[in-house]
Subunit: 251 residues, 2 copies
């Protein structure tokens, strides 16, 4: 829960993600946590207006019609933005330690990834992935950054299982730290549009078996992200940026 | 101070930035903090080898020849990597709150920025910039990520002063959240090489006077980073990525 900043005025307004449909005449309940945030953190009252989005019906200006200790109801007034489809790109990433994985979920949301898929690799040093926490980070980033939808956070999968069950029309931009991969931008310029995923390895990279597995798949496009080593979370932002610029909605 | 990970083995090795010259037969002293780190954190002893770099003489494998409570001396053994020039790109950014500005300094270092210049804008909400702390973050990122040099962190400047004293051959890639700017990648494809800087506004963006000032400068290239609002630290990573991919050393 957070207040995004309006680029016109530099001021913030309140924006929340909800699961309910958004349409005129259809009241929307908030969760306990959201109610607490509105009432006690943001000091809102009945009659105040905030914005809601649900990933389906665009963004709506909604009026607080009831505000109690643990419950809040809003009435959608008018649609402020229509729903827009995001370019179809997923982020596949090896889980990182706490602060970095939170950051990764936030950044991937800002960059318009539609699905976040944790991938367990040989050198993954994080035993457990808190999917709910990642999802909460994605929701918060979407609320803050004016996104109209929230990426889905999937349950972790081991790399071999991910690859063997892969739905082939979707290509994988594989960020390869080994030698010989072409520059990401050059590869993307020649790549077809359609559904894609960006794949980042763990700190320390994929091992040689994993690299061979990936390089053997026809739907995998190995690319280089330049001559410097980057942290995995930096590389994820860089790869999603290049994808959006070359094939996504930054064109 | 940190251990970067070797992409071949997935193992880490110790790498430190020093101010001294690095050459065979020329002993190198470490600071108290570095000595403490080597001795007490990393449990190194006389005879162990670590890597040093200074931004001028490449990277050297060095042997610990003396290790006392508060002092350490190393003997450079052999150069492991020659010094390489970085593409000439600066990052100009409005100061952010603590965790985000630390992150920004680290990420800009990983992405090869050679100078970090804080810029005070009308909507900058951070009163004081801790230049030393930013510099320490840049050093740590360079040590971790195998960089051969560390960006210089400059003292903050107000935007009008920065612009009026600007050295014109250097162009500014200005990330403009307003309407009408061309996509960053399209603009960079048509842009000349040479020295550049990337300019990011504060959370909330530049105000209309600042935008007019920037758009009136012949050396400023306004660009858009796509249809979504991004946090300033995300936008910095995205803009440096696109610059490196289009004009820098990711080509």
């Amino acid at each position: 829960m957070a207040e995004p900043i309006d680029p016109e005025t530099g001021k913030s307004h309140i924006r929340l993600f909800v699961q309910s449909p958004l349409a005129q005449g259809q009241g929307v309940p908030l969760s306990r946590d959201q109610t607490h945030y509105l009432k006690n953190v943001m000091r809102q009252a009945v009659g105040d207006q905030i914005r809601l989005f649900n990933g389906q019906d665009g963004e709506w200006l909604c009026r607080i019609s009831r505000l109690e200790r643990n419950a809040c109801h809003l009435e959608p007034q008018s649609q402020t933005r229509p729903q827009m489809a995001l370019p179809d790109v997923w982020l596949l990433f090896a889980p990182l330690k706490k602060a970095r994985i939170d950051y990764l979920a936030q950044k991937a949301t800002e960059l318009g990834a539609v699905r976040l898929q944790p991938v367990i690799t040989r050198r993954t040093q994080v035993a457990r992935v808190n999917v709910e926490r990642l999802q909460a980070n994605a929701v918060e980033a979407a609320e803050q950054c004016g996104c109209l939808s929230v990426p889905e956070v999937a349950n972790p999968l081991p790399l071999p299982q991910l690859i063997s069950a892969w739905d082939e029309p979707r290509r994988i931009l594989y960020c390869d730290e080994g030698p010989g991969a072409p520059s990401a931008l050059a590869a993307l310029k020649q790549a077809p549009p359609g559904p894609w995923a960006v794949l980042l390895g763990p700190e320390g990279g994929f091992d040689s078996d994993e690299r061979a597995l990936l390089r053997g798949c026809s739907f995998v496009v190995p690319v280089s992200l330049g001559p410097r080593i980057m942290r995995a979370d930096t590389a994820a932002v860089a790869a999603l940026t290049l994808w959006q610029a070359a094939l996504g909605d930054w064109r």
